[in-house]
Symmetry: C2
Subunit: 323 residues, 2 copies
């Protein structure tokens, strides 16, 4: 028998009460005087979770994900009028940093402080870069001042799932006005805290090979849909390297967990095209409806049409019951 | 039988010829017209290596290490008159960034561009921060302009070991004027490339548990000492969470691999105190000589006295033969 969600949370060492409080305050700030939501609220998850191999964590299994999709999508949800809870891996890419000089922080500061030293070619180029940097900083500030962006950082799978549950439970009273955009790369396997070594695993003690046994991470999508926030609009993600595997798994998420949309990605092409799947009008047992979303030709990122389409569908869903 | 270094490099998919060329050029730039070294050269390794679990890398096992020790030590080696090859994990901490505002790049830029908006309290505080930032940027530039710092970035264990070998072979002609300061956190176990799955491991196909078998990483310290750069001064590091394990392993590195010094660290206290071990005057079979290095009371980091002491020992070693 595999691990259930209940087993997982009983075993987990993470407390999420402070996250619950912060989300409560954030929701309150986004309600009108009559108590109704002034705007829809989406929880965007971003970056990869890691799984410690030792309690005093020296080694861990990590999932590759810079967090670009989550960061860009957050910008577009804000533009679409949402308040966003950005549940992100610590040090992953943040919203409003795309215009910033890439790479090391020193190179970035150099470009701002001494554009000529940064070797950026023509002075017009530096001026343009400088304008872009100032615009990013200004936008980030404006968003912070309006109180429509709440950042919650995680590192381990234990933190991610505990915080996601806390956010979902806090959002439950928002009904269909709440959405989840689950772009984080979540570890499929983990080592339970109670089975984990206290100290660093010693190479001397284990012979020439190290055998690790990991448990399958319990699927929390079902809990999110049925228990934590049953009315919220849920968008899940599948990232694979193999097209055949991807199609099957994306359809499975709709059938099995009843999510409202699945964004299906192939690792290599995910910035150019994604497939959006939704339950068929005929019901969850029929083949899901599919539409392709492509990166626009005008230089915009693919997150622009993707988020626009999802916001449209969420508005229909919310409006249909008039919560 | 475990994997040998030869097995490892035969299996590894990484080519290091471009690193070898860059190091050759760097060494040439640090030689006088007569061909003698104008200054000692140290290769500082920094940050953790990761071990992919799949060829198209989505998941990997990572070693926790921000790279603070390597970055700060690089600054102090430069101050001590060394040319430094900084072999660092991509996105790990870089030299001359300690004075910079910590945290996200946007917060950092905000502090520089709009110190009042950053909520830093008194204007004197912001002015001081601004001065510090400008000093960091200026120092980094001065070092870059002098050509005494070469940065080589790695991510995987395969890259780290291939680049380390290339650097060592390029440094071999520098004889005792070269040193290695091996502060990187290197994975003890890995999955050979040839045994690695092409695609993402599927949770559906493996039942409720995932069993991973990792091979012990061949010890390359012996190859570095005996084959790659036999005359270079080699400083290795041990990081443990358990004092008893640490003492034994540090002494073993001297006895087994003939390194010239070992810096022994406990995870929790490594910024306050380290133990420096060296071969006993009586020979490698006697108990090693130990000295404690502590963080100075004047606010300097522990890397200041640590690097000063090692540079002193390296100078004695180099001077003793007059290479």
């Amino acid at each position: 028998m595999g691990w259930t969600s209940e087993d997982f949370f009983t075993d987990s060492p993470v407390s999420s009460s402070s996250v619950h409080e912060r989300v409560d305050q954030f929701i309150a700030a986004n309600r009108g005087t009559g108590g109704q939501l002034r705007r829809p609220i989406v929880c965007v998850t971003s970056g990869g979770t890691c799984v410690p191999l030792e309690r005093r964590c020296v080694r861990f299994i990590d999932n590759f994900s810079g967090g670009t999709r989550g960061a860009l999508s957050t910008e577009h949800f804000l533009q679409a009028g949402y308040a966003v809870i950005f549940l992100n891996r610590k040090h992953s890419i943040q919203p409003f940093t795309k215009g910033l000089p890439s790479g090391q922080i020193l190179d970035c500061l150099t470009q701002v402080l001494e554009p000529s030293a940064a070797g950026n070619g023509a002075p017009e180029g530096s001026e343009q870069a400088d304008r872009l940097v100032r615009a990013c900083v200004a936008t980030a500030h404006e968003v912070a001042a309006r109180g429509v962006l709440l950042r919650v950082a995680f590192e381990t799978l234990f933190e991610y799932l505990a915080y996601l549950r806390a956010i979902a439970e806090a959002l439950r009273p928002c009904g269909q006005g709440a959405a989840f955009y689950l772009a984080a790369a979540v570890s499929d396997f983990f080592i339970p805290w109670q089975e984990m070594a206290e100290h660093k695993i010693q190479s001397a003690g284990v012979g020439d090979q190290l055998h690790l046994t990991l448990q399958k991470t319990p699927k929390m999508l079902g809990d999110l849909r049925r228990l934590w926030a049953p009315e919220a609009f849920v968008i899940s993600f599948k990232l694979e390297t193999d097209e055949n595997v991807l199609a099957k798994k994306a359809a499975g998420a709709i059938e099995r967990y009843g999510v409202h949309a699945v964004v299906a990605n192939i690792l290599e092409t995910r910035k150019d095209v994604v497939t959006l799947l939704a339950p068929a009008a005929a019901g969850a047992s029929a083949a899901p409806a599919k539409s392709l979303i492509r990166r626009p030709a005008d230089g915009q990122v693919i997150e622009a049409p993707l988020v626009a389409e999802l916001a449209r569908r969420h508005a229909v869903y919310w409006g249909s019951t008039g919560t």
